[in-house]
Symmetry: C2
Subunit: 121 residues, 2 copies
């Protein structure tokens, strides 16, 4: 069974964290067939932190965790910090497959998303 952990930076502003949680809920709704478990994890400033979010997935019986970095640019958070948090948890659970996806800012669909925003205004 597969899980998605949507990972965001985390903010002191609770409504920003709630925006991410709300997106996770939409992902859970749309992708429940392939990914029955969807959790949100934060790098800092909000909870659950990434290792705790992955633990939540494992508690629910998943064998594969796909971490999606909800970041626009491939900075130090995407390239080092998020993978380091995942690796930390991987060492505790060597039997669980964990994979960090590309950050969403690199998606080929970003132009299409912006185009869609412009045309629907």
């Amino acid at each position: 069974m597969k899980a998605i952990v949507l990972v965001a930076h985390g903010s002191r502003r609770q409504t920003s964290n709630d925006e991410v949680r709300s997106l996770s809920a939409k992902i859970a709704h749309k992708m429940s067939h392939e990914f029955p478990v969807v959790e949100t994890g934060f790098l800092e400033l909000a909870e659950p932190l990434i290792p705790d979010a992955i633990e939540r997935c494992i508690t629910q019986g998943v064998t594969e965790v796909c971490v999606v970095p909800y970041f626009l640019s491939a900075g130090i958070h995407v390239e080092q910090d998020v993978p380091a948090e995942v690796k930390k948890t991987q060492l505790i659970h060597p039997d669980i497959k964990m994979e960090v996806q590309p950050h969403i800012g690199g998606s080929d669909m970003m132009v299409e998303l912006i185009r869609n925003t412009m045309l629907n205004r």
Copy 2:
């Protein structure tokens, strides 16, 4: 003639700013029919700043500027800072139509974009 100004926060890390400029180039390529002018503007830490990016559009003869906030959450930058920069320029050019679009994190297509990232891995 219409323009898009893709607005990002700006980073000390030049490759992050270049990621945004590269996205603007893709938008220019895909949407040249409706938006013949596409510029990138930064709130801080990189150039051109938002007012300068809008000025670049006006110099090219556009009559309408659509500002697209390339931000994931509707924080203070999206709600106050970006509109304030646009308003500043609007006062200098009352004859040019300027409109701030919703931030991209609020797009209905975000789930689809993430789904696409997952399926193509």
